[in-house]
């Protein structure tokens, strides 16, 4: 991220032809047309905030995944794979697939049966108003900030890649997102996310195909990387035995327990930005299938994100460097690998589609943040704390206006980030503070009926506070890294993994301790919210091919095979 900030002054990477511009303009026209078309279908609160709860598993699943393909996902992870090799794929496989399957099979029934509108809404039902207030205010605050960062990132990328003015890009993207989300609500956001998902694949898939042809297939790619960098860059697990044996400075325990068990579980199962898409499914089976479908496609995303980074490492004549060196030498940075590969293979038309894919990725992330903010603001803050007796039409109106206000705040954040660039790093750190403890709270709430309201609230507060505390400790005293991340060699990513692990464990410990010391709620009040006292609808009448469990096993097997192949 800071890398892109620093490179804003470099010359543009590609030049667009008129046909490329037509493709980009057509994308914006289509996105707005969908928003206007769907306005008529967003009249009630259920329509506007939950897309009528009538999405099929495929649409909910692709939208669930697409909402995560925003921000610097495409360019950032392509750059990370150039820098760290195939280790970056952990964020797509062990850092996503187990969590998505866990959401589908274990957690989704409780979210769906409770008929909650949001994750903070579930906390209200399970732990009471204080827990909801804590999570909803922090979520709303962070979401608009993240949306602003998305917006600024997109504008910056367009400046770097195309030479476009930052103000122009912010204006166009913010107005477009505000219009189509305010008009059609979550349904419009979901429709556009599915469209954007398809465009991302259509625009980016050609790079790995042509890259592999040029490199001489996978074996040729590995041979070139072994020459240009090191053979270790193409191994997922074999270099993770020691912190200083791999370019990421991470140990396998950080990847498995920090990333796989805590950070990804927290993100994919409790971040309302993604969970909201699944809650829009038409029935419980569709809601369970959606994350499984998303997981299937998530496993393939490295093909258009990680592989281009590796191809860049193998094929580019220019050596990409870190931010400081790139600024000093006016060279190209790691994060530019994707547009560089795009320019390498794509002529007129294809280049426009590739750039559209990048813009689509940013817009879907931004729209995802804004639509999630709108729901949490309207249902969990405005209706819960400010105006409890409004009509449905009033809340829909509030939803539309809060979309516009949310986008406006995001624009303000984008300019704030522009002036105070370190804010970006702090906000991203702040966002991570809430995810890991929230997972502990929600998981205990769903699986342990003895957890009490006081336990949930104090556990969440303790987990969040401890995460902030550990982060501040390392900031003030870098040598504390040996305690927080278990090694003085740990890098930022490794520190994040372990901080998440400790904060989740602290949250769980405090939740259990306080719960055991306080009076539990009667079982009757927990029906539909907790395992053991909730009747989960049987799937006995459904054929094997239509059962979520069957497809989860299929996805799980492919996941294991991929990890073994690239071991």
């Amino acid at each position: 991220m800071t890398l892109l900030l620093a490179l804003a002054g470099t010359p543009r990477l590609v030049h667009l032809s008129p046909i490329d511009l037509i493709i980009i303009v057509f994308y914006f026209v289509l996105v707005l047309a969908i928003g206007f078309y769907l306005k008529e279908q967003a009249n009630t609160g259920e329509d506007f905030f939950m897309a009528g709860r009538e999405m099929t598993a495929w649409i909910a699943g692709l939208s669930f995944l697409s909402a995560n393909l925003g921000s610097l996902e495409l360019m950032g992870w392509a750059g990370a794979s150039y820098q760290y090799g195939i280790l970056a794929a952990h964020w797509y496989w062990i850092g996503a697939i187990p969590a998505m399957l866990f959401l589908a099979l274990v957690m989704m029934p409780f979210y769906y049966i409770s008929k909650t509108h949001s994750v903070p809404g579930y906390l209200k039902l399970r732990f009471g108003e204080p827990s909801r207030a804590l999570s909803s205010v922090s979520f709303a605050f962070m979401t608009v900030l993240m949306s602003g960062i998305n917006m600024y990132s997109m504008a910056l990328v367009l400046k770097i890649v195309l030479g476009w003015d930052i103000n122009f890009s912010i204006l166009i993207s913010s107005v477009t997102v505000a219009i189509y989300v305010a008009l059609g609500g979550l349904r419009s956001a979901i429709f556009n996310e599915v469209l954007q998902f398809i465009l991302i694949w259509a625009g980016a898939l050609l790079i790995p195909i042509l890259g592999l042809i040029e490199a001489g297939g996978w074996s040729g790619l590995k041979a070139r990387i072994a020459t240009n960098a090191s053979a270790e860059y193409t191994h997922l697990w074999s270099t993770l035995g020691r912190f200083n044996d791999n370019p990421m400075g991470i140990h396998w325990t950080g990847i498995v327990f920090g990333l796989g068990a805590i950070i990804s579980m927290g993100y994919w199962t409790t971040d309302f930005l993604v969970v909201q898409r699944v809650l829009s499914a038409k029935d419980l089976r569709a809601a369970k299938m959606a994350p499984i479908i998303g997981a299937g496609f998530k496993m393939m995303v490295p093909f258009i994100v990680i592989l281009p980074g590796l191809l860049g490492l193998a094929l580019l004549d220019t050596k990409l460097v870190g931010e400081t060196q790139a600024i000093a030498t006016n060279g190209h940075s790691y994060n530019e690998v994707l547009p560089l590969m795009l320019a390498r293979y794509c002529g007129p038309g294809l280049l426009g589609l590739g750039i559209t894919a990048l813009i689509a990725g940013f817009m879907s992330g931004m729209a995802g943040n804004v639509s999630a903010f709108t729901t949490v603001w309207t249902y969990d803050i405005y209706r819960a704390l400010i105006k409890k007796d409004g009509s449905d039409a009033h809340y829909v109106s509030m939803g539309r206006w809060s979309t516009v206000v949310g986008v406006a705040i995001s624009v303000g954040t984008a300019y704030l980030v522009m002036d105070f660039k370190s804010i970006m790093d702090y906000v991203q750190a702040l966002f991570s503070f809430f995810i890991a403890p929230l997972f502990g709270t929600v998981l205990l709430g769903m699986l342990w009926k003895r957890a009490t309201s006081a336990g949930g609230f104090w556990g969440l507060l303790a987990g969040t506070s401890s995460s902030v505390g550990m982060w501040a400790w390392v900031k003030m005293d870098p040598s504390a890294l040996r305690y927080v991340a278990l090694s003085p060699y740990a890098r930022d990513m490794a520190e994040n993994m372990y901080r998440a692990l400790w904060s989740c464990l602290i949250c769980a410990f405090v939740t259990v301790a306080v719960s055991l010391a306080t009076k539990p709620r009667p079982d009757a009040e927990l029906k539909g919210l907790v395992y053991g006292v909730t009747d989960i609808p049987s799937e006995a009448y459904v054929s094997t091919l239509h059962r979520p469990w069957f497809w989860a096993v299929v996805v799980g097997i492919i996941f294991v095979v991929l990890n073994v192949i690239f071991w």
């Binding site: 046909i19 289509l30 279908q41 649409i59 002529g347």
Partner: protein
């Protein structure tokens, strides 16, 4: 997803792929007959022709299959 007489999302996707595919295909054909001075790597494979063609065919199939009024979701 569609409701009542509304249009399926897959139809919109079909429109997008069809239009983009035709534009890319057209640009590829033009390049084939008027080769640029500065060519991309693997230019001889004419990726924009076949990739544009693939997108256009898939887009057309979606447009037909999910055309408004056919009752598909």
């Amino acid at each position: 997803m569609k409701r009542g007489g509304s249009i399926s999302i897959w139809f919109f996707i079909g429109i997008s792929l069809l239009v983009n595919g035709l534009l890319i295909f057209g640009a590829g054909v033009y390049e084939f007959f008027h080769p640029p001075v500065k060519q991309v790597v693997l230019y001889h494979l004419h990726a924009n022709i076949w990739w544009g063609g693939i997108l256009a065919v898939i887009g057309a199939a979606y447009c037909i299959h999910f055309a408004p009024g056919k009752g598909r979701v």
